[in-house]
Amino acid sequence: MIDWSGYIGLIFEGAWVTVQLTLMGSALAVVVAFAAGLGRISRFMAVRALATTYIEFFRGTSIFVQLFWVYFVLPFAGITLTPLQVGVLALGLNVGAYGAEVVRGAVKAIGREQREACIALNLSRYQAMRHIILPQALPLMLPTFGNNAIELLKGTAVVSLISLTDMTFQAQVVRAQTGSTLIPFATILVLYFVMAWLISLGMRWLERRVTRGLDGVRA
């Protein structure tokens, strides 16, 4: 008879790593999504080119390859990161590239009329973006951001490939040691689901908060 409590404890340790990766990766993704998304609509060509290159590169190559580059190739350039840092960096940059397009789309969706009102009221471009465009664009971004965060959560499983002891990695360890496949993988199935569900709940709460007072403005 296997004593499961120790093994389940192992999986929970992995779950904590997954949570950390998801939270920090998402935080990084949001920052780069705004930077690159606004960069793509900059009036400076160089900024647009840089943002577009970043987005196309990270959307166009697999997270798996990106992860290996950051972990195995960057050290040759003298940059050595811990596995957790590597995971956060690769996941954040990858998902941030998708998020950038969400930011750009939402900002573009705030119509010409609002921009013209800003010009007529003599707001600077920055003031218009900060006070008028972004506050209205944010509610449009949130549903897709929620999707992206869940994608990122599920993407964390690939970091087990660079020996980061996330939930999936630990499940494989438990499987190897106990010979049982059902119990470790059923456990992480439930845990992934619960985490994704918490993200959904959180995003729904956020959406309600930022759309408060906008009732009747949009369907």
Partner: protein, 261 residues
């Protein structure tokens, strides 16, 4: 004889292959109330949009309150205006739009105080005091805390007028401000504008299809067709005794469509 506050000199506006304004010149005197009428696509709204720097011009010069709008002096020669110059020039001009363009995520009071606080550094208390005076003038002091979505079209437009006035512009542009309103809401907006004309010496340019209002309100009426001023004059002359055939045709059509002159 005072200097014109607006001097439009031979401007050309093209959208791709389409020429909207072709060498148009006009002047507006300080304090003048000017109505721009004419069929849609005749270029009258484009004039307002050019004055608000919402468009660029393809050629020509626009002078506002003694300074070039689209050009600035640099080392003795005129060069295209930069953002800073435009920013300085826009202080002189306010605009009210056909579709109000209120900020839907801000309450009425914040809509009015936002620009003075951000662009002129007015402290919140002073901006709110001024905003309440303006909202009172347009009859909406009790709606200060409402969101735009809770207002009727006429109320929204009155807020938009207060918002533009909060920056104390010398020139106000009204772009078909009643066209998007239900008929029973038109009068409340026109009343605010009458009051404004009576109480201030602001220069006002008005693009409108409300011929009756243009008749009572304006010192001078310009009839536009195909990017040109076909006829200009006092309202009673333009509306009662139009000289040009195109003006007569346009007014007949408008009357047939049920507009009062």
């Amino acid at each position: 004889m005072p200097e014109p506050i607006i001097r439009i000199d031979n401007i050309v506006k093209r959208y791709g292959p389409l020429t909207v304004l072709d060498g148009l010149s006009m002047e507006v005197m300080p304090g003048e109330k000017l109505a721009l009428i004419g069929p849609s696509g005749s270029g009258k709204t484009t004039i307002l949009r050019i004055l608000m720097t919402l468009e660029t011009i393809s050629d020509g010069f626009v002078q506002v309150d003694g300074d070039q709008l689209y050009h600035m002096k640099k080392a003795g020669s005129l060069v295209p205006a930069d953002e800073r110059h435009l920013h300085k020039m826009r202080e002189k001009i306010g605009m009210v739009f056909q579709h109000f363009n209120l900020f839907p995520h801000k309450c009425v009071l914040d809509n009015v105080t936002l620009a003075p606080m951000l662009t002129k550094g007015v402290p919140r208390a002073a901006a709110e005091k001024r905003a309440m005076e303006l909202l009172d003038m347009v009859g909406l002091a009790d709606k200060a805390k409402s969101m735009p979505a809770q207002l009727s079209g006429g109320q929204k437009q009155r807020v938009a007028i207060a918002r533009a006035l909060a920056l104390s512009p010398k020139i106000m542009l009204f772009d078909e401000v009643t066209s998007a309103l239900d008929p029973e809401l038109v009068e409340e907006v026109l009343n605010v504008m009458r009051k404004l004309a009576a109480e201030t010496d602001m220069t006002m340019l008005l693009v409108t299809h409300e011929m009756g209002f243009a008749h009572d309100f304006a010192d001078r009426v310009l009839f536009f067709d195909r990017g040109k001023i076909v006829e200009a004059g006092r309202p009673e002359d333009i509306f009662r005794h139009p000289k040009q055939e195109r003006t007569q045709t346009f007014l007949r059509k408008i009357i047939a469509a049920g507009h009062r002159v």
